[in-house]
Symmetry: C2
DNA sequence: GCTATGGGTTACATAAAGGATACCATCTAA
DNA sequence: TTAGATGGTATCCTTTATGTAACCCATAGC
């Protein structure tokens, strides 16, 4: 139990399966080619749809899909502004902050690993 | 700078791009359908090729590919035993421990997020 | 020789992800 | 009235990921 909590070493097949499903949940939300790119960009502030498309060099179709998913998961909010013509702003939600530790970990591990394979330059 | 180190909020496009590439490195190694499943299973000890295939319910073709990638990245070691017929054992390397924090973070976030969307049961 | 087990590989098929292009609708300013 | 910006959607296509089935090689037991 302690063991499981500290290093997630599942003792039984059941536990292993549950652990995997939970990891998969996370991967579904943060994985794929664009999710983390968009989150990174949105850390810079508010963006309109086309601004974001230009910034990330992503096609509108994919951008639309990704933003919907991020919005559904409570990580991004969409605000329609009553301007002429109407504009839509996307920004990170306060909840998205909960990902900070994870993203930082991924970043650190990637950096460490790169140093390891390129010979600790 | 400090900001970047603590919450990875890239200030420039360059930084944003570099951050993304580093995150992508990590995703390449740990992402996909099988990598984390196999790592989870291998936490249980040594496994032979077919044992692992049975355990994970993965086809030999994919298993072979995944194991090669994990091995290339120094996370899994492959040992040929001089038995009749020869057998091959796969196990996690000491280096794989470096992923523990990341995996635990992913697990915790997934758990927390699930509680959030299912209404904090 | 026949069959079984272990460790895979090869060839082929399907599913999922991502991309390109064109387009729709609304509005404004020229 | 035409052109350009806004926020997208629809259609089609390519690439990558994953799966299935059959097969190869070696050894051991019968």
């Amino acid at each position: 139990m302690m063991n499981k909590d500290r290093c997630l070493k599942p003792a039984t097949d059941e536990e292993c399966r549950k652990a995997w499903l939970t990891l998969k949940d996370t991967m579904d939300i943060v994985g794929g080619k664009w999710k983390l790119v968009l989150i990174s960009i949105l850390r810079g502030g508010k963006f309109k749809f086309r601004e974001l498309a230009r910034e990330a060099e992503i096609s509108p179709r994919i951008l639309s899909k990704e933003l919907k998913e991020l919005e559904m998961n409570g990580l991004v909010s969409r605000t329609v502004l009553d301007t002429r013509p109407i504009t839509v702003e996307y920004q990170l939600t306060p909840y998205s902050v909960s990902l900070n530790k994870l993203i930082l970990n991924m970043y650190e591990w990637g950096q460490m690993h790169r140093q390891k394979i390129t010979g600790k330059q």
